[in-house]
């Protein structure tokens, strides 16, 4: 199984450790993983700002990089959702469709494709899950509190395989953190307030770490936590799932 590793721009630039953890985890689980050099961005920041028509350069690059893989996996629900919903390249629609159908966010790749049932990981801490909206409501990584339907959660399913990890229960289990792409700067006041409120929920329920499937949301929460000089840390889920036993 040939897996193309999709590392979104801000992870590449600011959170390389998340890319390393993702790669290492997939390799541990027996995948043949290749990171195509020359990746930039999925185009989402422009598209969500109303400039989808400017994303053709990004789309072409994306198809160039990933057209030949069995699966494409990325540690970001939001970027994966953007590709799933919006990747189109005129004249190469077949390739684009292949990618849209074969791209997975890391957690759903582990639960749905690799069907992981156990992990050799240990993380003896109290952890709160921040469910990023695009992963949850867009990709369906877990059941949404608005719907009358059976509960499930792919991220939780995986974190429960980690030795010593204790999940904390939140008051609002799937409220948005307020990152929202360029929303975080154009609507700074509300964005920060939303982030602070999310953090308060985790802190009040005893979380030592906040984890999730989207570094963008975590970056926003981390920015606020650091400004508050809080001891609470953020970690991408890959970093926890990859935390070795020893």
């Amino acid at each position: 199984m040939k897996v193309g590793l999709f590392i979104p721009c801000y992870i590449d630039q600011f959170y390389p450790q998340v890319g390393i953890a993702t790669l290492s985890l997939l390799e541990k689980l027996g995948c043949e993983v290749v990171y195509p050099q020359g990746q930039t961005c999925c185009g989402q920041p422009m598209a969500n700002s109303g400039f989808e028509h400017l994303t053709s350069g990004c789309n072409t690059l994306f198809v160039n990089h990933f057209q030949d893989f069995d699966y494409i996996v990325g540690p970001s629900g939001s970027c994966v959702l953007h590709i799933k919903d919006h990747l189109h390249v005129p004249d190469r629609e077949e390739k684009a469709t292949h990618i849209r159908q074969r791209i997975y966010e890391l957690a759903e790749f582990l639960t749905d494709v690799l069907k992981v049932e156990s992990l050799q990981a240990r993380f003896p801490h109290k952890v709160g899950i921040h469910q990023s909206c695009h992963g949850q409501r867009g990709l369906g990584l877990s059941q949404m509190s608005e719907l009358v339907a059976e509960p499930f959660s792919k991220p939780q399913q995986l974190l429960q395989m980690v030795e010593g990890l204790e999940l904390v229960e939140l008051k609002r289990k799937d409220e948005c953190c307020g990152f929202g792409g360029t929303f975080c700067v154009f609507e700074e006041a509300v964005s920060v307030k939303m982030g602070k409120d999310r953090i308060t929920d985790h802190v009040n329920n005893g979380a030592e770490y906040i984890t999730g499937n989207d570094v963008s949301c975590l970056m926003h929460l981390e920015g606020i936590l650091r400004r508050q000089q809080s001891n609470v840390k953020v970690l991408h889920m890959a970093e926890i799932l990859n935390a070795s036993i020893d």
Partner: protein, 457 residues
Amino acid sequence: MEQDHKEHSLLAETFNANESRVDWHDETLWWVRQKRDRMAWSIPEWEELREAASRIKHNVLGNMHDYLIEFEKNAIANGAVVHWAADAAEHNKIVLQLLQKQGVKRMVKSKSMLTEECHLNPYLAEHGIEVIDTDLGERIVQLAKEPPSHIVLPCIHKKKEEIGELFHEHLGTPAGNADPKFLTAAARQHLRKEFIQSRVAITGVNFAVAETGEMVVCTNEGNADMGAHLADVHIACMGIEKLIPQRKHLGVFLRLLARSATGQPITTYSSHFRKPKEGQQLHIVLVDNGRSRQLGREDFRNSLKCIRCGACMNTCPVYRRSGGHSYHNAIAGPIGSILAPNLDMKDYADLPFASTLCGSCSNVCPVKIDIHQQLYKWRQVITKEGYTKKTKAAGMHAMNIVLSKPGLYKTAGGVGRWVMRTFPAVVNNGMNPWYKQREMPAPPKESFADWYKKNRK
């Protein structure tokens, strides 16, 4: 109407100056959202019911022309007079003429978001007619000279102490009394007098049934009924999208409406107005005001399915923390943000951006409007039409250039991180909205791509 241009982000920033008040606003609306959840879970077939409602409304959109004619025919047969208004101005004129014919200077109105949309009250005031809003929340904001901040909970932004002061000033209640029970009783007394005196009553319409020509008006307070049944002339104002095909469809919508809106199993009163009472005139004003245009926009026509429950506002994490007035439109929140650009794309160009696209609104919507997807699509339309700020557009073009060229991206990323490490003040300053209340991420020495090159292959 508005002289100065309003921006959601700036109005939201002002609202956020008082953080404890934002907390209070957020918690109050979240509580309503939780009540809605409990009610939804009490009906095992909830999701099927939403689907049915959405499909009934889809049928209405695809057959609106015939349903309107059918409704009109039946309403006339029932003894009503039907008026057609192309826009807000015509609607206001029709209502004014009816009032002038009656020679009234003061009349009662129950909740109608349509008349808010048309700015009827100020128009009638200019012509010397005073409208008394009779929904308690609407009366409160009217006394405060403010628009409603929520379509179902008009004064949700007001604290009881402020309402106590308003009532003290306008209704003569004792100073300092802010007990909701006491204040409601005072309003009841005050408005009973208005109901008894008023010869004309305006009501909104929740549902208009094509098959029977009747209109259903839902209230908890009973103000629509008090007004309409005591008046010589009942004027019902409705947007043309309020139609439903048949009476039995009310079963679906009345099950969904109040549960979604306030977490009640049904409103106290669901009144079916079919014929005017003996000696009474019943006028129905059918208003387009951009609706037929929205019907032609394939990506946005589903917004016309809205039954005005307000659930999208209660669940919206942005609305809860920016307040209804930050949307500077009669209808606030997510649904307002997809309806408003149809009315004026320039004035409301900011609203589709006042969202994180979290998608909670679409999930609570009882008629399954794809609200967050429409927000995304409006962003594209507004940008293409040239209503995006020039600075933002320039930034996006620059971003596109960098992100389209891997070499440039690599260099820019490396340089950027080096600058951040070496001269943090370049980004860590007051000009950077991120930095105002958040630290920037610590820039690592090497990117993932650099690491990969060294450690693999």
